[in-house]
């Protein structure tokens, strides 16, 4: 008896330092991550900030019903999906293309220089980049001036103020910012490919394109599958920072997405409960998508993040 008890006590003393090390971080997570989850109950209330999370009048599913009756709901949902999925697809295509081409380059210093430049935009904020793009995509900006001088267009295009252009501009500028950085995973995967494979294929008479197809792309296929799978989690993330800094009321029809809508509903028109309801729906769906994507990534690529 005493022996068992002693063992238990010793164990607790041994792990105490670990608990103490985790304590401050866990406290921060409880206050700023877990408490807001419970705060989501205001989606089922008619929330009045002064009364706190549990003091306002309960209204059941009223906010959710209202949400599905809003005329904008479906356009916001489709904008979100179209923008997010196009970003995922085009980023993947350009990242793979970039990594494959870079792999064909033999000058090491040139390779380094190109990578350095291509990764850079990822680290600049959308505030800075949106300011730049607003300037060069302006009707009197650089892009329109060049297109006019080349006589490719007769009238300047209002890229950020025209619903037929806006989504395309959002996707293109996002690919511009992220393709280099997205390629890092593929470049790392290619670094592990045995160069003898290429030599053997060359001796067998395979041309450059055939070698790219059969060796390079085959070797990074698991990574492509992995990245695509993990991106399933992002099909509701159209990119708040970017859209918020580039859009304007003129292009709400094509550019308003869930995150920007939640922001405006909550903090411009103070419909706190409605905004929470919309956000909660998105969180739940995103959560399920992440679980699905991790399960798939584990099954197909043996990938585990934790």
């Amino acid at each position: 008896m005493t022996k068992v008890k002693n063992k238990g006590v010793r164990r607790r003393i041994w792990t105490l330092p670990y608990h103490l090390m985790l304590l401050p971080g866990i406290l921060f997570l409880l206050v700023y991550h877990i408490a807001p989850m419970f705060g989501s109950v205001i989606a089922f209330q008619d929330f009045v900030p002064a009364k706190g999370f549990f003091g306002s009048k309960w209204v059941g599913l009223e906010n959710f019903k209202f949400m599905f009756q809003l005329p904008d709901t479906w356009s916001i949902l489709s904008n979100t999906l179209i923008i997010a999925v196009s970003k995922i697809v085009f980023n993947l295509i350009f990242a793979v293309l970039f990594a494959v081409l870079l792999n064909e380059l033999r000058h090491l210093w040139l390779k380094k220089a190109i990578q350095t430049i291509a990764y850079l935009p990822h680290f600049l904020s959308w505030v800075i980049l949106a300011t730049i793009f607003r300037d060069i995509l302006d009707p009197s900006g650089l892009v329109n001036t060049v297109l006019m001088n080349l006589h490719l267009i007769q009238e300047p295009i209002f890229f950020l103020g025209d619903n037929s252009w806006f989504q395309g501009v959002i996707v293109a500028t996002d690919v511009w910012k992220e393709f280099g950085y997205s390629a890092v995973m593929f470049i790392a995967a290619l670094a592990g490919v045995n160069p003898e494979l290429y030599e053997a294929a060359a001796i067998d008479g395979a041309g450059r394109l055939r070698r790219i197809w059969h060796i390079t792309l085959t070797c990074i296929r698991p990574t492509i599958v992995l990245v695509a799978t993990l991106n399933i989690a992002n099909i509701f993330n159209a990119g708040f920072d970017q859209i918020f800094n580039l859009y304007s009321p003129v292009v709400y029809a094509s550019g308003d997405v869930i995150d920007t809508y939640v922001y405006r509903a909550g903090f411009v028109s103070a419909q706190y409960s409605l905004a929470t309801a919309v956000g909660l729906m998105k969180s739940i769906v995103s959560f399920l998508l992440i679980i699905v994507s991790y399960k798939l990534a584990d099954r197909f690529a043996g990938y585990r993040i934790f």
Partner: protein, 295 residues
């Protein structure tokens, strides 16, 4: 190999090089344009004459900027948040990654903590409740509103935890026998062996703090306490929210004449990122691939 010298290969190499250079140039053009604008004469910018090279080179935008006290107040707020926020991020990341990297038999509660940490990463509580929790904890409109809510960078914790797991167990066992405690293990054995990984996560959190405009916009009301990105956002982006057609001729001229000045602000606000970028590049490739270790 002989075939490397064939004309087919030369054409192929040229095409590859051409496409890569095109991609690189497209990456650089917008950045070069803003740099050129910031050194150009106001009138030239107004007439849309500035491309990639300054027209009528002048320092006047930067001289104007030096006199702008609000810009420097905001710059200082951002610097403070990077130091406080980045420091807190680093300490908490180290303290959490170590116990979480242990085996279940060494630390039986490890999995329970892990679930909590992972859950906070996977499930986002939503903007509005998050905002009110911050409001109710009374840190609104202070620098702490920019530091405390993101005190634990969960993704970084997991990255570093994965790295710690790759450190040979023998080292830890030897140190334990020598009577080194948990903190000693972390700071004397794990930290010195993980400097590249620690550099990676630190750079990620520093860049994140520097680039964040959103929390400053939502949580800070006093103009003098606003961080740099929020300040630039309020200045440049919100003003041009008025669509082109609704602007009067005067407003349009006013907006356009700010162009070179705004360009200078953009350039200066990107300088800290550019300054740490070479260090960052050395490490982040490792950092990204670190996340995908197979167990």
């Amino acid at each position: 190999m002989v075939e490397y010298k064939s004309w087919e290969n030369r054409i192929f190499d040229t095409v590859v090089l051409f496409i890569l250079l095109l991609m690189t140039v497209i990456c650089l053009l917008p950045l070069l344009n803003v740099l050129a604008l910031s050194f150009s004469d106001k009138q030239a910018a107004l007439a849309g004459e500035v491309g990639l090279w300054p027209v009528n080179f002048t320092w006047s935008s930067y001289e104007y900027l030096v006199a702008d006290s609000r810009f420097f107040a905001a710059f200082w707020v951002s610097t403070k948040r990077v130091i406080l926020g980045g420091g807190l991020n680093l300490i908490l990341t180290l303290l959490m990654a170590f116990p979480l990297s242990l085996e279940k038999k060494e630390f039986p509660s490890r999995n329970r903590y892990m679930w909590l940490v992972v859950f906070t990463m996977l499930f986002n509580a939503g903007l509005v409740p998050w905002y009110f929790v911050i409001k109710y904890t009374g840190i609104m409109n202070t620098i702490w509103a920019l530091v405390l809510p993101g005190a634990v960078p969960v993704f970084n914790v997991i990255l570093l935890m994965n790295f710690f797991r790759g450190i040979p167990k023998a080292l830890k066992e030897q140190a334990s026998i020598d009577g080194v405690g948990a903190l000693g293990l972390l700071f004397k054995i794990y930290v010195p062996l993980s400097l590249p990984a620690i550099a990676t996560v630190t750079l990620f959190s520093v860049v994140g703090h520097w680039n964040n405009f959103f929390d400053g916009m939502l949580l800070i009301n006093s103009p003098e306490k606003v961080p740099l990105q929020t300040y630039i956002q309020s200045l440049v982006v919100r003003i041009s929210d008025l669509s082109q057609n609704n602007l009067t001729a005067e407003q349009l001229t006013e907006k356009m004449s700010q162009r070179t000045f705004n360009a200078a602000k953009i350039v200066v606000s990107a300088v800290p990122i550019l300054a740490i970028y070479p260090f960052m590049q050395k490490y982040f490739v490792k950092g990204i691939t670190l996340g995908s270790v197979k167990e």
